[in-house]
């Protein structure tokens, strides 16, 4: 498998994960420092299904995502019921992330392998699957974001208390967003497992969660394609910076600071990457329609 192919797959996996977080962070305004745990759950679930029960890849991924989404209820129901502030929610997710990592490391069941992890996962992941799943995730998330569900999430982010008085069920909307994000992270985790074919629980640590959060914010809130682009950039950046050898990560951090400093709204806040093109197409279409009209006249 080629080098660029590998990075493109990594980027696609991250994009799938980000698609969920876009809704949680960019739309409803909750931020999580533990979403790697949902990747972990999805990864293990999908890997066990394909390795031991020979499930088809896509079905295993979906079930992995669904299990991740269900497990998000464990942390979501107690914390989102009261009006916990976004920062406190972040701490709760941080704790959940650590908890999942520790539990997974200590499960002695042979399927899980504890700290030794799981190896010999079928290598179903390839560039085609990765791009297709990333593409589908982006489309699904764009659809979700523009639907009434997405609008209600935005409303809650702007004015939580007022929105509740207007008639929005805050708890249900928040849980929905959390489950949505956990679902996509679970799928991303499953993709990861079937790409690397080997995984240990320590891979899904707090830094991964923070990287996910960073990509979403760097891409811009209330945007789906912005974060997707941000993720691609952040996946690619460490590789581009390889020529710096050991200074690479230092410069990576510096670039992050500089981007935030130059574009304090993120790359594409409140905008989508395809909007100008759509507008252009609409404009051209309206022109052509008018000209044919006039031609008929």
């Amino acid at each position: 498998m080629g080098y660029l192919e590998g990075i493109a797959i990594s980027a696609s996996i991250n994009i799938v994960c980000i698609c969920g977080l876009v809704i949680l962070t960019g739309y409803i305004g909750l931020f999580s420092m533990g979403h790697a745990s949902f990747m972990c759950i999805g990864a293990y679930a999908a890997a066990i299904l394909t390795k031991y029960y020979s499930f088809p890849f896509i079905i295993a991924l979906l079930i992995g995502g669904a299990i991740a989404a269900l497990s998000s209820l464990i942390i979501g129901v107690p914390t989102l019921r009261g009006k916990m502030s976004a920062d406190c929610f972040a701490i709760a997710t941080l704790g959940f992330g650590e908890a999942v990592r520790i539990i997974m490391s200590n499960i002695s069941h042979p399927y899980f392998g504890g700290a030794r992890g799981m190896s010999g996962i079928p290598a179903y992941m390839n560039l085609g699957w990765a791009l297709a799943l990333a593409f589908v995730s982006i489309v699904l998330t764009l659809n979700y974001a523009r639907s009434q569900h997405g609008k209600l999430a935005l409303a809650i982010r702007d004015h939580q208390d007022a929105s509740e008085l207007i008639g929005i069920n805050i708890f249900r909307e928040k849980i929905k967003c959390l489950m949505y994000s956990a679902f996509f992270c679970g799928i991303g985790g499953g993709m990861m497992a079937h790409y690397y074919t080997y995984m240990v629980p320590n891979v899904f640590n707090a830094t991964i969660s923070n990287n996910l959060l960073t990509s979403v914010v760097l891409g811009g809130v209330s945007s789906v394609t912005g974060p997707a682009m941000g993720t691609a950039i952040l996946t690619f950046l460490p590789e581009v910076l390889r020529f710096l050898s050991n200074w690479r990560l230092a410069i990576y951090g510096l670039v992050m600071v500089l981007i935030m400093r130059m574009r304090p709204e993120g790359l594409l806040a409140h905008k989508e990457i395809h909007q100008p093109i759509v507008q252009l197409v609409r404009f051209i279409r309206s022109r052509t329609v008018r000209s044919t009209d006039s031609g008929r006249g």
């Binding site: 502030s85 406190c88 704790g95 760097l218």
Partner: protein, 292 residues
């Protein structure tokens, strides 16, 4: 019983490090409503300045701790000046400030590894390493110093905030930064003071951590515990930060002693989440009810 007292001493000493860090977070949060995620590097650089000053300048322990506080304060202020202030001027969401902080948190430690090397070093003070035997409990001198100096620092901070005009300005800004600006309070000046103070707290905490454990470029990672403590304490509440910092230290050591060291973090976080469920704004958090 011995075990309990020993763990209590340890809990208090690590708790006071958490508390100082939490106060640093809370100071910035109370005025600017965001958590400075670039706080770990501030602590690390402060500690390294003391680490190099002691052998190179032959500074005694206390002046070198003071130096660490000054250096950390200045670095924290430099961060505000170069990164946060320009971003705040553009009225960005606080999430963006936090991500910029995460960027700093990647940049400085990794640069430090290349400059200082990746090794782990002892804090160069033999005095601090010795222990005092109280009955059956061993108390390191550094722990006593940590407890005393943290108290002094917190008392000084309290006096400053509640007994001086500048302190009044800071408290006014913490209620409403925009209005405070309109009322003639120089918000930039307040920012300078707040970042200097929070940096100084980090420098102090870093020295204690260094004395108790070691000095290395990634030691700033411990600051995340300070973030947890300041959030649980009620964001922006200094008293809450101190309480929950000590509580976190206490919980960690006690769970390790009487619960399970494998599941220590898991149990500690579970307890904290339970606290949050019953006190969604943290232990001493301000009620942030939207005025409709």
């Amino acid at each position: 019983m011995d075990m309990f007292l020993q763990q209590l001493v340890t809990g208090i000493s690590i708790g006071s490090v958490y508390a100082l860090l939490a106060v640093g977070y809370a100071l910035v949060f109370s005025v600017f409503n965001f958590s400075n995620f670039g706080f770990g590097p501030v602590m690390m650089l402060g500690t390294f300045s003391a680490f190099y000053a002691i052998p190179l300048l032959h500074l005694p322990l206390l002046p070198s701790i003071l130096l660490a506080m000054v250096v950390a304060g200045l670095i924290s202020f430099l961060m505000e000046l170069t990164v946060y202030r320009p971003m705040r001027k553009k009225k960005t969401l606080k999430l963006y400030l936090m991500i910029a902080g995460l960027g700093i948190n990647t940049f400085i430690p990794n640069a430090a590894i290349q400059i200082f090397g990746g090794g782990v070093h002892p804090f160069p003070s033999d005095w601090a390493r010795a222990t005092i035997q109280l009955n059956t409990i061993a108390v390191p001198r550094s722990d006593i110093l940590a407890a005393v100096l943290s108290l002094v620092m917190l008392a000084a901070l309290w006096l400053f905030l509640y007994k001086t005009r500048t302190g009044l300005g800071i408290r006014a800004s913490s209620l409403d930064t925009d209005t405070a600006g309109l009322m003639g309070i120089n918000v930039n000046f307040v920012a300078m003071i707040v970042f200097l103070l929070s940096g100084a707290a980090a420098g102090l905490a870093g020295c204690f951590y260094g004395m108790k454990y070691s000095v290395f470029p990634n030691m700033g990672a411990i600051a995340s515990k300070g973030f947890v403590a300041s959030t649980i304490g009620g964001l922006g509440s200094l008293a809450g930060a101190v309480i929950s910092g000590l509580l976190l230290g206490f919980l960690e050591t006690m769970i390790a002693a009487y619960g399970s060291s494998t599941y220590r973090d898991l149990i500690a976080y579970a307890l904290l989440v339970i606290v949050l469920i019953f006190m969604p704004r943290g232990i001493l958090g301000k009620g942030m009810q939207d005025k409709l």
